[in-house]
Amino acid sequence: MMVLIREIDSAIGSQRLNDSLPRTLRRAGRWVGVAVGAISALSSNDAMVAPLHGYHYALARGVGLNEVLAELYGSDQGCLQGRGGAMYLAQPSAAIYGANAVPGRGLTTALGLALAARLRADARLALAFLDERDAEAGRSWEAARIATRWELPLVLVLEAGPEVATVDFGLPVLEVDGAEIEAVHSATLSAVQAAREGLGPTLVRAVIDPLIATNDDPVQRLVHTLEEVGSLRDGEMVDLQAEARDRVATALEHLALHASAVSVSL
């Protein structure tokens, strides 16, 4: 998944997804491991909200590649028939309550989702990804405070750049290296278990400081780890990248053929 997202990132950067894409489209970049690592700790019926403009959260949560790419283009083939775009990419039927346009809004939505989960008493929880702007929004802090008072089943995952690396929302904090996907996964798993046990919200603070990190690329780090333990044979990574490139290319061709008002230069 990380390799696939990285490939889409690079396609966005290289303008292979051409000019009909919105200029504001945000790449996953070095935060790809946080999304993939944290989402892999969720059960299929847990609810999730994402920060502004992130396409990769929905992808990592299981929305199809064709549907996500088409949605970025505003095409009727997209998961929201092109009405969501990158800014509101979501799949409500799968409890993916997506991106939104306002800092702090994601966490208040997640607060309500966690409240619903509590009232239904069905062991579900809500996970909110927060970016730096969410971390600085007063409303996020208020929502975290209320969730704590109510001991709601809520997990916060903060993509903590240097500006917000000490933000804690007054919550128990599990701080991890955001470029270390395994660490993000296991910290989120602990937070998820605590939430399910009725212990209230936990903040997973995934820190990446590009100025001090020796290597803040989660994909390279994972490859390195896997090679060390011998799980990745020689050339397998190249194969994976080629496969991802093929998948993206095929998806774009499919889009160009079937979606109206989309032109893709391959």
């Binding site: 929201l80 509101y88 409500p92 306002v102 809004r105 208040t108 409303r139 209320i146």
Partner: protein, 301 residues
């Protein structure tokens, strides 16, 4: 003790609906002062433990949207229109955005304790802004406790995002809300007083002003027909048009200039222009003397 029949009627409807369905929930802004009302209305007596959450207006409406996405149908209780303004981005923009972009409904009810006949100019902006900025919103402004109860029940049984304005003064002293129609469809106006000389449309506590004016005018031999709109969106244009076809004159009451009254005048002029014998007049006040003056001008033109 100030009487609060509309608030009590709302409370009764919410409690009945909460008792019938575990998926309803109440949220409040943190400071409650309904003219010395008890805080935490429906849950104050402990009958619904853990079903009431406090927070600032924007946060509780944001959380209500999240809960509504999961089918909880929350009720948010606000003690003034100011609080609705504080939450305007959530309430006006986010709900509409979700509905338009995600194609899912956001079933929630925002109950605002507000005297629409006695507002300051900052409140005045709120109502018309809501109308413009929230294409999916149902806006309810009943004038009697009975209508309040019925419309609140309709709101809680449906899928629409609704706002209901709870008037502190009922139109006609009607107190008994038992044994009434359980749920009233949105967008049905009702004739509060039949008349032949001019139609006066009103809503919420403005209806009371119209009724007072109608007695004064009747003493002069002018019979006005008072239409209580009950809901502002959807608006019962057909009932207004039918009344105007009969009276040929229209006076629209509204809570503020640049607001509901102007919109109503435009819509009705489009529907029944040929039937009008005088210009439509707006009165953005519930004061009987102003309503009387507008009616007198209309009937002598």
């Amino acid at each position: 003790m100030i009487s609060r029949p509309s608030y009590d009627a709302y409370l009764q409807a919410v409690m009945e609906e909460m008792a019938g369905d575990t998926c309803r929930f109440l949220l409040h802004p943190s400071s409650q002062d309904h003219w010395q009302y008890e805080p935490l209305g429906p849950t104050a007596d402990g009958s619904f433990p853990n079903r009431s959450m406090r927070g600032s207006a924007a946060t509780v409406i944001g959380a209500a949207i999240g809960a509504a996405l999961d089918g909880l149908h929350p009720v948010v209780e606000l003690s003034s229109l100011d609080q609705l303004l504080a939450a305007a981005p959530e309430f006006s923009e986010h709900i509409a955005t979700i509905r338009a972009r995600w194609d899912v409904s956001v079933p929630l009810l925002v109950a605002v304790v507000a005297d629409l006949s006695d507002v300051g100019h900052q409140f005045g902006a709120a109502l018309s802004a809501l109308q413009r900025g929230s294409p999916y919103l149902v806006v309810l402004a009943p004038s009697t406790p009975a209508d309040t109860r019925s419309l609140v029940k309709t709101a809680l049984q449906g899928d629409d995002p609704c706002v209901v304005f709870l008037s502190p003064e009922e139109a006609n002293g009607e107190q008994d809300t038992n044994g009434l129609e359980a749920a009233l469809p949105f967008g049905r106006a009702v004739v509060r007083r039949p008349g032949r000389d001019a139609t006066v449309t009103a809503y919420s506590s403005l209806v009371r002003g119209a009724l007072i004016a109608s007695d004064e005018l009747a003493a002069e031999g002018i019979e006005i027909e008072i239409l209580d709109l009950r809901s502002l969106r959807p608006l019962d244009v057909e009932s207004i048009a039918a009344s105007v076809r009969k009276t040929n004159r229209l006076i629209v009451l509204g809570d503020t200039p640049l607001g509901i009254a102007g919109e109503m005048a435009a819509v009705v002029a489009e529907a029944v222009f040929d039937y009008l014998d005088a210009p439509i007049r707006q009165v953005t006040s519930s004061a009987a003397e102003q309503i009387c003056a507008a009616v007198r001008r209309a009937v002598t033109e």
